[in-house]
Symmetry: C2
Subunit: 211 residues, 2 copies
């Protein structure tokens, strides 16, 4: 399909640009309400002033998420997709004209809440992180396989709610391994901070180090 190959060309241009500025770019995806913004707000506070940070937010409407990010002091740009259900590489290229990629730092891109289409659109990111919350059920990796197959890391969020659910983390992991055998999985809670040492460690380990 023409759309995807044109998108891939723009994504490759974005990626070269990120490599030149030494910017580590993470594409954060999930269904609506899994906790992407809440996770980002805590992550940005924990990363603190150690690194230059920026966030590009994708939503159909509103600047609610970008406002939540800006409240932490980190620059954020809101992209509104209207009827569109995913971010694409051209939207990221356009966003960078207003929000420069942080040199030697981290750029988080929070995609539109959707477990289907965002999986197919490369933005030029270095890593794809998929968030799923324990309230959504163990079967999602099988029912929405493209998204979980594309993930470099899966964050299982809202672990603080486990005592109140019949959710079985082991069943989720077994289903996940059927569509993405080697993917790394971390159990976290954006509310309590559980699992954040491992998540911040993963970010640091995957961030390109300046030569």
């Amino acid at each position: 399909r023409d759309i995807l190959s044109r998108n891939d060309e723009q994504a490759a241009r974005n990626r070269r640009r990120f490599e030149q500025s030494g910017t580590f770019v993470v594409n954060l995806m999930s269904g609506p309400g899994s906790g992407k913004t809440t996770l980002l707000v805590r992550t940005l506070k924990e990363l603190g002033r150690r690194l230059p940070l920026a966030v590009i937010e994708g939503d159909q409407q509103t600047t609610i998420d970008a406002d939540r990010i800006r409240d932490t002091g980190v620059p954020a740009l809101q992209v509104n997709t209207g009827k569109g259900c995913h971010l694409d590489a051209t939207m990221i290229d356009r966003a960078l004209t207003t929000l420069p990629a942080p040199k030697g730092g981290v750029l988080f891109v929070e995609n539109v809440g959707n477990l289907v289409c965002p999986a197919g659109f490369d933005l030029g990111e270095a890593q794809k992180v998929v968030v799923i919350s324990v309230t959504e059920g163990e079967d999602k990796p099988l029912k929405y396989p493209d998204m979980f197959a594309a993930a470099d890391l899966v964050l299982v969020n809202k672990a603080d709610l486990l005592p109140h659910l019949d959710f079985e983390v082991g069943a989720l992991e077994r289903n996940l391994r059927r569509v993405n055998h080697d993917v790394q999985v971390l159990i976290v809670s954006a509310r309590t901070g559980e699992g954040f040492a491992a998540w911040l460690g993963w970010l640091e380990a995957h961030r390109p180090k300046a030569a």
Copy 2:
């Protein structure tokens, strides 16, 4: 756009067919994991043998949801959309060649878990019911406005989890009324059965009565 007008023509044909067979069709939509299937399983058991029932399930992959429905004894047909992120009127027309619309009964269509695209594709249904769970946040109606604006009824599900969350039902309703002023809202729990008398009452009140 051609796709939508062709879809609307097929939806109109579907609707005429449903009117002729006296079938009440409900298009059930939500983000992934809000509880559509769990709600349906309890609803079908409560409706029991009073009415002829059938379910069309939409998912990217697997027959997991149709299997859960069939376990209740109600006929169900699984439509797999592959890379597609919504059901459309042609898929429903095709499904009806295998699963006849229940005469004088109720046909539930559980759409693909996605708060964006399904809102734009008329299937020929009589009513659109949107499910949102209390774990997804109060801001979703503002961020995914098309879906909530299209809703005839909103079911706020997983009410049993409210004691463990900071979620404010009033805030959700205020946000909802900004995009859909007159929509009806029911608070339910598919797990405990809370709110089901009102939900079953709503179904009965909207079901066309045979002349």
